[in-house]
Symmetry: C2
Subunit: 340 residues, 2 copies
């Protein structure tokens, strides 16, 4: 066995496991004081992401401190727009902000197709993380889904509705497809470089899936996620997590991926019926559960495992950890899952 602990890889591949594996979205960052200490050594968020030593340090922290079954490379989904020619800033308490956005054909023509060389700082961070992990647990690589990346590139910031990005789909669908195709090619290049550098699994995050209806989601998002899955899944296990995409589960069931992540608004038993038994499910605790008392956390963790079952399942939250979650509650939740 290559890893001291490879339970998450076995769960993703549908092999028998002796207990439920667990990792948490946003485990690297946000809730650990150790993260904040490392973070303070960089000038700003974007510089932090671009510093491979610091990124590797916070990637490994949750393995040491929280005891999760996988590390996930510390980075941001918006490194892809930057590599394609649209740089961003991360504004404190506000989120990402792009000075330039996609509005016209010339904006899209000007986008470059990125590859691993454009994102060498992430590749370097993966190599350093692998060294630091020293085969204790696998390392997860990741990228945003093309639709989510496109949504930020058009909208220029976060949004409750992403109405400007959706306006683009309704008014200039062909141009949207051109942009999405370029983002998809860049993402495939980027993820292959992550795997070459040592990433053992890949997760695709479609954070803004839920603003689209079923038909637009198929056309403008799943079509491109599917291309990524087809390229990556022959080489590593792939997880697709589309937040709030309850309407797309049946379509996701036929993706060439190993694992489907679901959020806490989706009933695990319903998801299993729709997705079938050929895929692993991942999720789906409400991040706010970790505000509760320990007895409530334990009770809900137990219910979650009963609902998903112990095989073909990776425990996680249904979204990233919230910044004001207490570290000891996070640790308690992880220990609960591992002991149940």
């Amino acid at each position: 066995m290559k890893y001291q602990n490879d339970i998450i890889l076995r769960a993703a591949r549908g092999e028998q496991v002796e207990r439920v594996p667990i990792w948490l979205m946003r485990q690297a960052g946000r809730v650990l004081p150790e993260y904040k200490a490392t973070r303070s050594r960089a000038k700003n968020f974007v510089e932090f992401v671009k510093n491979p030593d610091l990124a590797a340090e916070v990637t490994i922290q949750p393995v040491d401190i929280l005891g999760v079954d996988a590390a996930i490379i510390f980075s941001d989904i918006l490194v892809i727009p930057e590599a394609m020619g649209l740089p961003y800033q991360m504004i404190e308490a506000k989120g990402p902000w792009f000075e330039n956005t996609l509005t016209s054909k010339s904006d899209i023509d000007a986008l470059r197709i990125a590859d691993g060389n454009d994102l060498s700082y992430v590749i370097k961070a993966i190599e350093l993380s692998k060294k630091g992990l020293n085969n204790r647990v696998p390392l997860i690589g990741f990228a945003g889904a093309p639709w989510t990346i496109f949504a930020y590139m058009v909208e220029g910031s976060g949004s409750k509705t992403f109405s400007q990005a959706k306006k683009f789909l309704y008014q200039q669908p062909q141009l949207a497809h051109e942009a999405l195709e370029k983002i998809t090619q860049s993402t495939i290049n980027y993820l292959k470089a992550q795997v070459a550098a040592g990433a053992d699994m890949i997760q695709i995050f479609d954070s803004w899936a839920g603003v689209l209806g079923q038909e637009q989601y198929k056309t403008f998002s799943l079509h491109y996620i599917s291309k990524i899955c087809n390229e990556l899944s022959p080489i590593v296990p792939v997880t697709v997590f589309a937040k709030d995409a309850h309407f797309a589960l049946a379509d996701m069931a036929v993706l060439s991926c190993n694992t489907i992540g679901i959020d806490w608004t989706i009933n695990p038993q319903d998801a299993r019926i729709i997705v079938g038994h050929q895929k692993t499910l991942q999720g789906n605790a409400d991040p706010c559960l970790l505000y509760a008392e320990e007895c409530v956390i334990e009770q809900e963790a137990r219910k979650m495992i009963q609902a998903f079952g112990k095989q073909r399942y990776i425990a996680n939250l249904g979204h990233g950890l919230y910044p004001d979650t207490e570290k000891h509650k996070v640790k308690f939740f992880i220990d609960c899952i591992k002991s149940l």
Copy 2:
């Protein structure tokens, strides 16, 4: 017949209709230049809402200008917290903001149970609107669902996650129920006063349903919506619209209400199967559809009516109109539905 056009009331009650009735959430306000002219006569949004003459004026505008089959009283769901003792401001381009929020038992003990007298400006606006409408079309009254009102009263502003409001549910569930009960009683009083003043139908808006999981939604939201339905539906048709509550449709099917509103992420045929044939469905065009060219709007309007069918159906959007929608596109969509 009391009204020149009562097609929406007939559709809500499940009576035969000759065409599909339509109104649009946020039809009063946002997209009409006429609205903006009236709005400019008030000092700020809250003063505008509190001015019965101005509120009645913008309530009637969409009937004259857009030709919708119902008016909805122009107001805000946050008048209830204000009447209970938590005033709010509406900050331009940011949304609502509360100086004081609910954090402790004493905050909740201090809340008053409001009644129609506390909201006499809305009641007066309803009376003026009825006079101005002069029986052309029915008037819809409304209130926020108790969970959504509670969420604002704890969070103090809009939020993507409403994590502070949800933290309250996880940490102080009993206290949350005390607050929700007071909000529910206030809402029942308020809606009964709206009906006494002339509201012909009532819609309950649960704007933040989608941040809760299925079980919490039943306990902390549907339980209270059900109480409101039980009190109101014997006197007028009641519509419940819970945004993003795909997981709650089966539970909503047993509410004592006439109509269930759905958003564009829910497939109309699936909704019909889950809800059954004893209720009217309302919705569910994506507000961003109105950014598209007219041929696309027409094609999607046609598909929507085919999916819902013409009986037991009220056409609407799946959320409120977005502010940058062009008036002529809104009018075109309404005309399409009426002519199909």
